[in-house]
């Protein structure tokens, strides 16, 4: 047995160039797979982060029917009682109540339609990145008539800090028009164009007054861990979904992102399949070349009493060694590149994926367990690819093998 190991090790280095090229092929495939896995992992986290941390939250609570009808009359009336309930749920880190309505926003120069949000400045800063996105002026400070808008909206309305804006909305409970004057107190910038151009944010109480409601339309939630937003076994989902409340996680609020992330798992699988086929074909070709070159030698081995099964295992062992060397090279190569990009990131600023504008670089995420699994899978593919050539060698008739020598 020892000699078989020794034979296999020596055989793979008989044609160093061919073995090195085969190892390069498999190692490159593995490195690409590892990189893809780490990239998709990083991209998913980045997209979830961009999507939920910007403004959405990990989950949102609305009154049943609000999202379907988009009717400002459908709002959460027992909001204070609900706040207490939220404070008692251990998974919820922070929450931010909001009112919202479609409105006309006019400056002295222009007019446009926007969605006006009324937010609790302090709570909002713990859930969304509105405060961090300020590029001019200051964030909301619970002062009367202050409004913050995106830079694109400011350009459109040709306003700057301190300029006047008039919000015109249709009020709840009757639909009377209500108008109020605000002064631009701050200008923010997000990577998301809609946030910059289609949104205006005022203080919650002023929003409630403007819309003539005494509750809120939406409560954005921030969980302790973003994964909890996808864990529907948690009790909170049952507690916060009833005849009055509808609580949805970001997966349900942005289904296109959720689908895209699910799809990305398949893309890793598809890349794996393509790589595996390439690796397998490359290796089968290489092993057959090696076997054809050694036909005479196999004839000799069989003639002196080597069992066909022993020859079969010898070829598989050679494949295993090639696989092992390839996996080591591939893990080193793929691991180093993935690690490098997990530190420096890949800049996709401004690029939109499934409607999500990436603001930060994508930092690759290395999952050691997944790396082990992929490497094991490639090693298995390498060994399996050798089954056919090994079977061919084992079935050789010694006399034919010795005649077929190249």
């Amino acid at each position: 047995m020892h000699l078989n190991f020794s034979l296999a090790q020596r055989n793979i280095f008989r044609n160093t160039r061919r073995t090195a090229l085969t190892i390069c092929l498999i190692a490159s495939g593995l490195a690409a797979l590892l990189f893809t896995d780490a990239f998709i992992r990083g991209m998913s986290v980045s997209m979830i982060k961009t999507s939920t941390e910007t403004f959405l939250g990990d989950a949102q609570i609305h009154h049943q029917g609000f999202r379907e009808a988009n009717d400002i009359d459908v709002y959460l009336k027992k909001n204070l009682q609900l706040y207490k309930q939220l404070e008692n749920i251990e998974q919820i880190k922070n929450y931010a109540p909001r009112v919202m309505a479609g409105a006309m926003l006019s400056s002295s120069e222009n007019v446009t339609s926007v969605i006006v949000y009324g937010v609790d400045a302090q709570k909002e800063s713990q859930v969304s990145q509105l405060k961090q996105a300020m590029i001019k002026g200051s964030y909301l400070a619970d002062k009367k008539a202050e409004i913050i808008i995106g830079d694109d909206l400011a350009d459109l309305l040709e306003v700057d800090l301190g300029d006047r804006l008039v919000i015109t909305v249709s009020q709840a409970q009757g639909g009377d028009l209500s108008q109020e004057l605000f002064r631009v107190s701050g200008i923010y910038h997000f990577a998301d164009r809609f946030m910059n151009k289609g949104l205006a944010v005022i203080n919650l109480m002023q929003g409630q007054k403007l819309l003539n409601i005494n509750g809120v339309h939406e409560i954005a939630l921030r969980f302790n861990h973003v994964q909890q937003a996808s864990d529907f076994s948690l009790k909170l989902w049952a507690d916060l979904n009833n005849t009055e409340l509808e609580t949805l996680s970001w997966r349900q609020l942005v289904p296109q992102l959720s689908s895209m992330l699910d799809m990305s798992q398949y893309s890793t699988l598809i890349v794996s399949i393509i790589m595996s086929v390439l690796v397998a074909l490359g290796l089968i070709n290489s092993m057959f070349m090696s076997i054809y070159e050694r036909h005479y030698e196999f004839g000799i081995l069989l003639a002196v009493g080597t069992r066909p099964r022993q020859l079969f295992w010898l070829i598989l062992l050679e494949g295993f060694y090639i696989g092992l060397l390839s996996v080591v090279a591939g893990v080193l190569f793929g691991g180093l590149i993935s690690y490098w990009k997990s530190v420096t990131g890949i800049d996709y600023s401004g690029t939109e994926f499934s409607g999500i504008s990436m603001s930060d670089p994508i930092y690759l995420i290395i999952d050691i367990l997944e790396f082990v699994k992929i490497s094991g899978f490639i090693l298995m593919i390498t060994v399996l690819s050798c089954v056919y050539p090994a079977f061919h060698a084992a079935r050789l008739l010694p006399s034919i093998a010795m005649r077929k020598a190249l």
Partner: protein, 230 residues
Amino acid sequence: MSHVIETKNLCRSFGKGEILVKALDNANLTIDKGEFTAIIGPSGSGKSTLLQLIGGLDEPTSGEVFLDNKNISLMSGAELSDFRRDHIGFIFQAYNLIPVLSAEENIEYIMLLQKVPVEERSKRVKEILQAVGLQGKEGRRPAQLSGGQQQRVAVARAMVSKPSLILADEPTANLDSHTGAALLDMMKELNEKHNMTFVFSTHDPMIMQRAKRIIKLHDGRIVDDERRSA
């Protein structure tokens, strides 16, 4: 007397239809223990085919081969491999060593297959290397040995497991006359000392001179079988 080799109506054809070539035609033959036999004949007469069929390296089109009274046609692949390993030593024309193994490892290979204990293996390897005059060259790989030395290693490998039969297919074809003669003398000595059976396929007059029996083949048929006194 029991025969080491017995062939009955042995035939081997290649090709089909009009291009059918009868390499061996109805060969009936018996070889007894301790014989030093040469199978001779012109190229294409079926010498190597007969040797390969006797050694179980090829399958006959029809007929039977008995080795030590066992019909090898009835053996499975693994049984035949084991039988060759334990009872037959092969020496081929040339390049018949495993290039990645040293001379010592090439000789040791069959004993490893036979699971001979390590002490016994190294003892036998030492003895046989001495017998073939290759002491000090055990660590060399085939590419580092001359043709004659490679063939000596092949002879040592064929004999180390003490088989009852050695089949040698033109063993001196690639050797100069001096090396060839030395090798044949060594084999003759082993034949006489250990009563090993040797069957050669050859056109080499040096082998014919030393052979106790000469079987002549022509167009796949045995046309002459001459026994010589010692």
